[in-house]
């Protein structure tokens, strides 16, 4: 433990950066998603996405309102909505929002790149467009889609360039883990894309769970 502390102090350098300012950051990312559906159906797939953070940086603390968006395709997952069981391939789009608290440490593993940690609760909507499916009970049409409202949390760590001015567009590299559990599911008729109709909304009964590992790469935009 003492060794770890010594290593930490040895590689530490004081933080000189822009502070007490609002900043907007954004970037892109690759994700590894594990989706658990009904009846222990599960699939792991690689996806992609983007992230954005708008918030205030104090000296070492940052408070951001963050959004993560990721896409992917899960095969052979069982879904259930409006008394219909659907088994198929789901093309998924997840959009999450939440407050994210971030702490920039003095530890610099490389030049002026500082190690940081961040965490926060998150709320998300997952839209599932189902392809190549079979159904039992109820009605499910080709243009219907499922939407899941989930709650969860995000934990991430990474390194961020510390520069004097945000106009220099400091860059960050982040490793994120997110967990989401659905609490509401809606069956939506999307045949008219100018005005979608919600056909039913019910408790998801924790049908859908997501574990997401994501590598994000981005920069301070302004």
């Amino acid at each position: 433990m003492l060794k770890l502390l010594l290593i930490f102090l040895f590689f530490s350098s004081p933080l000189y950066a822009y502070k007490n300012e609002l900043a907007l950051k954004g970037g892109v990312g690759l994700s590894l998603n594990t989706v658990q559906g009904k009846n222990n159906t599960e699939d792991t797939f690689v996806g992609y996405g983007f992230n954005s953070h708008f918030g205030y940086r104090f000296t070492k603390w940052e408070f951001n309102i963050s959004s993560h968006v990721f896409f992917g395709k899960a095969k052979a997952i069982e879904f259930s909505a409006n008394n219909t069981t659907i088994v198929g391939t789901g093309v998924m789009r997840t959009v999450s929002f939440g407050p994210l608290f971030k702490y920039l440490t003095d530890y610099t593993p490389y030049k002026n790149w500082h190690f940081f940690l961040s965490a926060g609760p998150t709320w998300s909507i997952k839209t599932v467009k189902i392809e190549e499916y079979r159904t039992s009970g109820g009605t499910f049409k080709e243009n219907d889609k499922l939407t899941y409202i989930s709650r969860g949390g995000i934990f991430s760590f990474g390194i961020e360039e510390i520069l004097n001015y945000k106009q220099e567009h400091p860059v960050y590299l982040e490793f994120m883990y997110g967990y989401y559990r659905a609490h509401d599911v809606s069956l939506v008729d999307a045949s008219d894309n100018t005005s979608v109709q919600v056909l039913s909304t019910e408790s998801a009964g924790n049908d859908i769970e997501d574990h997401i590992f994501m590598v994000n790469f981005g920069m301070t935009i302004f």
């Binding site: 900043a23 907007l24 929002f97 939506v188």
Partner: protein, 233 residues
């Protein structure tokens, strides 16, 4: 009443583009067509107007007036741009029921990722044109779009979490792209580029755009030439 301030910046360039005119037997500045001036070194047109953004401080009263103007305009534009939705789904009963509600909407990506961010980008550019910095413009866009979500759009549907975030944030990101591209186009000096520069960034056309600087080439008759930059804000 707009205060007019003239900024005179004269760059004398003894070895610059215009100075080289007489040295190389190029036509004199006075011989060029009246409406067109070109840089003979780079063989590019010199635009008569330089488009840029000038950030400045704003009073609370001024910000309130601008937010109010956008708010009023939103009440006019919303039913005009979405008459079908306004007529079929809108009512004051909905307004009362939706007041204070905040939900995830189920709209298609076309609305959430194209229409709302594009609207946000134009709001962002409106505030940029009025002299707000990028961060301030994002904050003002957030205020305007939040007011729209919570007090106008609820006539037809509850306020949406996605729209609250994506309109100002994605709008500002797109806005910066449009800002950069439009400045490039506007400063090319040819009518074709200028047309598209104004088309993607219409706020540059209006009286409130503060980043318009007139350029007048100057020449002392000998070997000293320069540019006179004149702006109003």
């Amino acid at each position: 009443m707009m205060k007019v301030v003239t900024v005179l910046i004269i760059f004398f360039m003894t070895n610059g583009a215009y100075a080289s005119l007489s040295h190389h037997n190029y036509p004199l500045l006075a011989d060029l067509p009246k409406k067109e001036v070109m840089d003979l070194t780079s063989k590019k047109r010199v635009p008569k107007t330089l488009y840029t953004y000038i950030d400045r401080e704003h009073s609370f009263k001024e910000s309130l007036q601008l937010v109010s103007a956008i708010y009023g305009l939103s009440w006019v534009l919303y039913p005009l741009t979405q008459p079908k939705t306004f007529k079929n789904q809108g009512s004051f009963r909905n307004y009362r029921d939706n007041f204070g509600e905040l939900v995830f909407d189920r709209d298609e990506p076309f609305w959430n990722w194209i229409i709302h961010p594009l609207s946000g980008s134009q709001l962002f550019l409106f505030y940029r044109a009025n002299g707000y910095s990028r961060t301030e413009s994002l904050a003002m866009t957030f205020i305007s779009s939040t007011l729209f979500e919570f007090t106008i759009e609820i006539y037809t549907e509850p306020a949406s979490i996605q729209d609250l975030y994506q309109t100002p944030v994605f709008g500002s990101i797109i806005g910066i792209g449009i800002e950069t591209l439009s400045l490039y186009l506007l400063n090319q000096g040819n009518p074709f580029s200028k047309f598209f520069g104004h088309l993607i960034n219409p706020a540059t056309l209006f009286w409130f755009f503060e980043g318009k600087v007139n350029i007048t080439p100057t020449w002392d008759g000998n070997d000293r030439v320069g540019l006179l930059l004149m702006g109003e804000f």
